[in-house]
Amino acid sequence: METLLQQIINGIVLGAVYALVALGYTMVYGILGLINFAHGEVVMVGAMVTLAVIKLLAGTGLPLVVQLLIGLAVSIPACMALGAGIERVAYRPLRNAPRLAPLITAIGVSIILQYLVVLVWGRTYHPYPELLPTTPFDLAGARISPAQVAIIFFSALVMAGLLWLVHHTRLGRAMRATAENPVVARLMGVNVNHVVTMTFAIGSALGAVAGVLVSINYSVAHYQMGFILGLKAFTAAVLGGIGNLGGAMVGGLLLGLIEALGSGYVGDLTGGLFGSNYRDVFAFLVLIVVLIFRPSGLLGERVAERA
């Protein structure tokens, strides 16, 4: 029972991270129909820039939480600029090109970013400082750390904030209009380029925070961390229904839970035939089954609410 509760907590934390990153994929897809494969790398750059800032501040004796906030104050704008810059340089010139062209460009950008980070910070796994208190909370025998609480809390907050932004602000209305039909939106006076830039910037800001939270949780950052995280988050977005904000959240949580419970119990249930190393197989099996019955994902009604 204690183990089950702990596995559910593990799954929710993992799922909240996937959801946070998945939002970045799904926002861009909703508006441009483009899969921004470089998003995982933006997440990684967010973690790395924050780490660099914190290292600079190490001697100042500021409280760790203040250092963390200063780090975020640098890395969030940096990632917003990076995200918007990627769009301007790599995607905008290809906006009317066949859909495969920007996809390949996205993969290219992702590789370029990884190796730029290698140039600056090297290939080593960087230990991440413990910026949040580490004493875990006890929940009926299961444990949850403050960093994990922060991940869940922040993800929920961001989700609510994004829904509000999309449904109750001028920018949100412009985003929905652009998603519906960019040409008509432009005729109605919407500055489509500005909307797209803002979408990339917001998604990248969320990515930066996700990168920092993940690194604090696992206490390590490295240049490849964005690749696998991005792949899983993208999977979560597809599972939930890509282009749908709520779908990213549901898909992320579901994928996290499947992975945690899968690696926890598949081995015991199959008598050791499939071990915990089959958790990704298990996760993708669920994805395939869901897509067979609901090809556009769990919450896949993209038309009304995509943004």
Binding site: E2, T3, Q6, Q7, N10, G11, V13, L14, G122, R123, T124, Y125, P127, E130, T134, P136, R143, S145, Y218, S219, V220, H222, Q224, M225, I228, E259, A260, L261, G262, S263, G264, Y265, G267, G275, S276, N277, R279
Partner: protein, 387 residues
Amino acid sequence: MKFLPVLLSAAAALVLSSCGKQETTSSSDTVKIGMAAPLTGSQSHIGQDIKNGTLLGVEDLNAQGIEIGGKKVKFELVAEDDEANPAKATTVAQKLVDAKVVAVVGHFNSGASIPASKVYADAGIPQISPGSTNPRYTQQGYATTFRVVANDDQQGPACASYAVNNLKVKTVAIIDDSTSYGQGLATAFENAVKAAGVEVVAHEHTTDKDTDFAAILTNVKGKRPDLLFFGGIDTQGGPMVKQMKALGITAKFMGGDGIQTPNLLALAGDAADGVIASIPGLPKDKMPGGVAFLDKFKKRFNADVELFAPMGYDAVFVLAEAMKRAGSTESAKILAELKKTDYKGVIGPIQFDDKGDLKNGPITINLVQGGKWQPVDTVVPTTAAVK
């Protein structure tokens, strides 16, 4: 007419030497020894260490003035960088073969030594690895593969011996990283503890890219083992130790030489205290020729020995001894004598078994205390049988 034969033989010697067969004919007295290790990249500190060790060996040999087959020879080191990359390893192996080295000291990574060994075997050149511990390296059926370090089949049982005899564990859980190194080590450990009657309550798998171990650690926690053994390297081991402590797992954490690194200490932070790891060989200051070697090395390179320099140094001397006994610098003859090696090196007595593995290579058990690795025990494989 007396000088005609002299002229003729001089001409013959000229022809011979221009045929590029210098290293086996008596017309040249330079013997090339190859060396390959990662000299650049994230493992360059280890590669440079091995290179310096072999270089020191070559310099000492030249200073001693070695005679082989009644002829004074001069040794020359040809160092190549394999970047810890399997594909690059075969390329530099071919380069060394083409440079007509008589023997090779290298490579460091098992993943480099194994593919390169085929190139050396095809050329009939003996290869002595100073640091590759994957058992498969010497089990491919090549007569040319040797190593001066204990392999993982010996490291796993050594860990098991320490866990059972010293830590008195009754139940263990095992996690491996699904690589050939990690799985090999974990399996060797598992078999040895099982043989000693210890219950293996879980054997979980992760990958060498993962950093999230919450799910498998939770599973392990539910089984309440006395000890968690990890077959893998520090980049996973560090975060794993940290996450283990965060989940409130009180089991001891043990692993092989892949986690016995400063990097583990950096990645695991305070959680590292109490982590146990084995490493092939003796602690460098406990090696029979250790203290003298450390001094000499420091004087020559103005750097401290990292880890494998003494193995590189000894490998060069083992080769020179084989050449002396063979009275030849031909690879085939060196090879035949190499198998009969009985040499007292810096690292201790060196003998090879029929596969080319080091006989009775000692293994040191280390423990993290106060944020530092401290040797706590030494296990020799013949006595590693669990009591």
